[in-house]
């Protein structure tokens, strides 16, 4: 058996680069919400070694098949293993799953060492012998629901019950993403219903639904991810109130520029302890129009507002995730005030603690949420505290 194991071991040839003095082997892996590249160096005698004084400037990472050119890691860590020799872990928010990378190690006064084809095992074949229907589903349907490494805008179904107010609410949010010719298209469907049981006053309910389509284009500029997006959104709210039913419909168009700067936090990220991701801010302008009938729908308006958004997610201690987002608006019409909407999410990531469901389509997380403030499109005062299970789709 030992002989068999030794034979298999020597068959390992993938992702290795040879040099007169040193050979390097690499792996792309996913841990704590980020992708990382690990490199193992060996000297001419096959012993584990680490070059002296490695810096980010000595490494160039190129996504194979990509057009964005090479980039440098934002952090280089030397990690000493409990088994085996030390390895080098390269951090960069630009690393993505289902991709292959080439790493070039620039050796002073010598030829560079190139490690080719460091691939994610979940890399999919560009062509194969699968039938047309399977290929279409894999590429366009299933692919749209994967959001590798995303911290926000996850597809989810949620049911909440507020014991104190005898309130039950359910919500469904689907926001698949399709990419073609460098553009991302994100249709959105949201439906939520809230029912209140009021002592002595029967039951009231509110139903909200939204349809939207966003088109965006993103590009890397050095270590920053810049994107521009346009979004059209239609909201419909139906209020079943004791004083009378109301329906309010709102249409809005927003243009937003967004800067994602996860990379600035790469130096703080340690993949077992603390990972920042989805850190970005955006600025934009929105046009919105509202009309409707009944008590709540009587006021009709046609307004504009500039807005600014800030979002960040921090995953810590293996399975805790804290997200914060702040939306701010400056409505242009007379009499309107500055409006802000804050959202805090604290989530227990149970995906690794519980066995995956059949088919691995989703996993439950426990989520505590606090939302407060006023926001588009109605700028009505909102405040909500909830705790419930969120069924988020697996990122892979």
């Amino acid at each position: 058996m030992r002989r068999t194991a030794a034979a298999i071991f020597f068959l390992i040839i993938a992702s290795a680069a040879c040099h007169a003095q040193v050979s390097v082997e690499g792996a792309l892996f996913f841990d704590r919400g980020h992708y990382w590249i690990e490199l193992a160096f060996r000297d001419a005698a096959g012993r584990d070694t680490i070059p002296r004084a490695v810096t980010p400037a000595q490494f160039e990472i190129t996504k194979l098949g990509g057009t964005a050119g090479h980039f440098r890691p934002s952090k280089v860590e030397i990690v000493s293993g409990e088994r085996g020799g030390p390895v080098i872990v390269l951090s960069s928010g630009r690393l993505e799953g289902r991709a292959c990378y080439r790493v070039t190690y620039l050796v002073p006064d010598s030829d560079p060492v190139v490690v080719d084809s460091i691939c994610d095992p979940f890399l999919e074949p560009s062509a194969g012998n699968e039938c047309g229907g399977t290929a279409f589903f894999r590429k366009y349907v299933a692919g749209a629901f994967r959001k590798d490494g995303d911290a926000v805008d996850l597809n989810q179904f949620k049911y909440e019950y507020d014991f104190s107010d005898e309130k039950a609410s359910s919500s469904l949010s689907l926001e698949p993403r399709y990419r073609t010719h460098g553009f991302s298209f994100e249709p959105l469907f949201e439906q939520s219903a809230v029912a209140y049981s009021l002592a002595g006053r029967g039951k009231t309910s509110t139903e909200r639904s939204a349809l939207a389509l966003a088109v965006s284009k993103a590009a890397w500029v050095r270590d920053l991810r810049l994107s521009v997006s346009t979004k059209y959104r239609y909201d419909r709210s139906a209020f079943d109130l004791a004083a009378g039913d109301s329906v309010v419909a709102t249409r809005s168009v927003a243009v937003e520029g967004r800067v994602r700067f996860d990379n600035l936090f790469d130096r703080l990220n340690r993949h077992c302890l603390s990972v920042f991701k989805g850190v970005d801010c955006g600025f934009g302008y929105a046009w919105y129009q509202s009309d409707g009938g009944g008590l709540r729908g009587a006021s009709r308006f046609n307004r504009t507002t500039p807005f600014a958004n800030l979002r960040a997610t921090w995953t810590f201690l293996d399975g805790f995730q804290l997200s914060y987002s702040l939306q701010t608006f400056w409505p242009a019409s007379t009499g309107d005030e500055f409006a802000g909407f804050q959202s805090v999410r604290f989530r227990l990531l149970l995906r690794d603690a519980l066995p995956a469901q059949a088919g691995k389509a989703y996993h439950p997380d426990v989520e505590f949420a606090y939302d407060t403030g006023r926001r588009l499109p109605l700028f009505e005062k909102e405040e909500k505290i909830s705790i419930g299970f969120t069924f988020a789709l697996y990122p892979w």
């Binding site: 068999t4 690499g26 996913f30 690990e38 409990e82 088994r83 077992c272 691995k360």
Partner: protein
């Protein structure tokens, strides 16, 4: 902390050992044909040809559980005929295979 490269090699060996021992395919052929190609065949292809029945598969998954430190039920939940052995191994690594030994 153990390296991901080291754990990935170890996972490759363990999967090759357990599946080859109960399927009649040599470990070297297993890794050459079903593990190492850039786009290897799916687990379902191997399963339908070389795994005689569900009991054998349960034995394999149980043995993998002992080798990796993961519960068999967890390993079974990641076993999908529509994925490759390399992807199956990566799922197990992401689920914490071998981590108990180093804690």
């Amino acid at each position: 902390m153990s390296s991901w490269l080291g754990n990935r090699k170890r996972m490759r060996l363990d999967i090759a050992k357990e599946f080859s021992a109960r399927s009649g395919v040599s470990a070297a052929d297993f890794v050459r044909l079903f593990y190492d190609p850039v786009f290897p065949p799916l687990i379902g292809d191997f399963d339908s040809q070389y795994i005689s029945d569900g009991g054998v598969l349960e034995e394999i998954l149980s043995a993998l559980g002992q080798a990796t430190g993961l519960a068999t039920v967890k390993i079974r939940s990641y076993f999908s005929r529509n994925e490759t052995f390399a992807q199956f191994g990566e799922h197990l690594l992401r689920a914490g295979a071998y981590t108990k030994e180093t804690e």
